[in-house]
Amino acid sequence: MRVVVADDMMLVRSGLVRLLTDAGVEVVGEAADSDALMQLVALERPDVATVDIRMPPTHKDEGLIAARRIRERYPTTAVVVLSQYLEARYALRLLADQPSGLGYLLKERVSDIAILVDAMRRVTEGECVVDPTIVYRLMKRRRPDSPLSHLTPREREILALMAEGRSNAGIASELVVSERTVETVCAQVFRKLGLEPSPDVNRRVLAVLTLLRS
């Protein structure tokens, strides 16, 4: 897996590169701002770009803009945005239109490098990954007329794990149930959310999107 890392803070960037390298990921380039990132991606065509949400010049949401631009121009490159914001709104903005191949993780979670590497692998497979903390907050919300209000607790639980980017096998081991049970519940979730049958990855992405928008 070929990866580029973009973060304006050198210490963070180097720490991240070191962690990724140690985990056996090939880091092919580093960038300190979104312009450098775009050039790097154009040059290297990596499998994944890891992008900090706040970068120069305004330190607001350059990372989100860069992520969407990369997905538009270089569809073979997936993007994981690393953020310090818990607010789901930023995740929604990133994933709203076309969530596949995108991930949104809280930065400090990355120090458990396995989570990042797992998320990178999933986004290269076209899924989308949302940080568990944010998923938890999303699940707590109650809105009138939300399609989520029709889900049972078990269905919500599985949807949350889905949003975190877990596979059916991963969900099954987490909940200590059979993979077949997970598949059945997933089908129910898709039906209740009004998602037509289509390739599994797509439906999973759409279900997460429904959760974000709810």
């Binding site: 803070m9 210490l11 963070v12 720490g15 070191r18 949401d61 607010e87 907050r137």
Partner: protein, 576 residues
Amino acid sequence: MARSGSMQRVWQVRAPRVSILITSIASGVAVLTALVSALAVRAGNDPFAYAGRRFPAWLIVVGLTVLGFIVAGLLATRTRPGASGGLAMATIGSLLPLWATWSWLPDRVEAGVLAATPFAVMVALVTLSWSAPGSSNPSPAMRIVVALVVASGVVHLVGYNPFADSGCTLTCADVTPLLDGLMSTRSAVVVSSSLTIGALLAAIIVLKDSDRHTPRLIMGAVIVALCLQVVSAALRLANWADNTAAGLLLVIPAVSVAIVGIAVCIVVARTLRVRMAVDRLAARLSGPVAALSGVRGVHFAVPGEARWVDVAGRDTTHLPGQDKYVVLSDESGPVLRLLIARGTDQGDLLAALTPATRLALQNAQLSAVAKARLADVQASQRRVVAMSDNERRRIERDLHDGAQQRLVSVAFHLKVALSGADASTAVRLAAAEGQVRSALGQLRRLAHGIFPSVLADEGLAAALDDLIAASDVPTTLDVRTRDDVGMETAMAAYATVAAVLNSIEHPAPNTRAVILVDRNGDTLTVSVEAEGAVETVVAEDLVDVADRIGALGGRFTTAETATGAAVVTAVIPCGS
């Protein structure tokens, strides 16, 4: 409190009863004259057929003048008691020559009428000009005019010799003049005319010195009237024996009095109009000041400050020229200024201010100043809130971009170190990393509490969404507007919801909250209904929020529903 330039004028309103009496007498005389004339004409003794000449035009002039004077006199009793006396005298003065033409009257009366006519005219002129607004404190030159005019009338009255008068030769058979032997009528006319010329010159000086519109109008009319008198005397002296000319000259007193009378009527009507305008202004001060005839608006002085505010307490930007407003002051300084319309006289305006109107204007000043001060306080409150928000935002950014980033990098490097460490070091490193991670969590909560960046970046709906997502209270959110209501308003709405949700520290199983945000015109209404947590929602926790909303000019209320739920409602004006 009236002050205009350096002169202070206060018009004392006299009892109008006297003026009504005078006007009534004048009206009586006019009606009697008309009746007698009608009877005489009916009996074939037409006074206007006198000496074979008819003057229907004179009749019309006199009739209209008399009617006008009576109406104006009655009107004038409201504002100018002196004017009604002058008008009455003018009426009588212009009617007197009529009586001189009736042969059935005793000769003595006829001669007396002819002798008294110039006197009555002069007194009418004096009274009329005296009654003009702003002339109650006349200049020395004006006093000379008045004295000369009266002297001229007196000389004619006492020096009149009916036998020497071509107008009286046919009728005044057995009348002896008062000063017979001392002065001939011709000399009396000469002396009287000289005095009139003196008065005319003095009047021109008064007119030249006068800088105000109203006295100029009256003085101009007086000068024209005096000129007519002089011309009349000159014509008489030139054609002493000609009866034809004498009959014609009887018209001149009526015309000269009419000119001054009309001038006074114009001034009185204008004063009335201005007074009505001021009254309407005072009555409308609670609402927007419409354009009124005479007065265009009013500005109020803020005591102790060199600024003027309008009725609503807003600073006035429009600064008219010096001659376009009248400043009213009391002992503490200027109180207000009335913006006057083109052609309105300052004296008229001041004369039109009744005590009630002044009181209303003073009250309006108090309320306008109170509003202005309230707006000042609110603006300063707003600045304080905005400043604190900006500062909080800066701190939040610093925490995110500085401390948090550094902690993240420390966590990364600890992790790197961990991979190459021996077992005992690894345990300590892992503990340290755990500490750093929890510090990061705390830091994020702290930064978020200082300033919700999502509110600035994504808007109110998104910020509220995340707020309830972070809360332990099951909450229903209904945001019915997606408009940009302005940062200050959004911040206040956010703070309201945050304060209520935060005040519920330990939610019970049945605790629920319902949030409704809706825009209604220029205000944003935020209502938070918290059920099952009444005792925890207390006003003290919400003081900061109430202050914030108050600074924006909004309202913040707490109430309790019949079911025991606490309802917090904030109505906040929308910003830009």
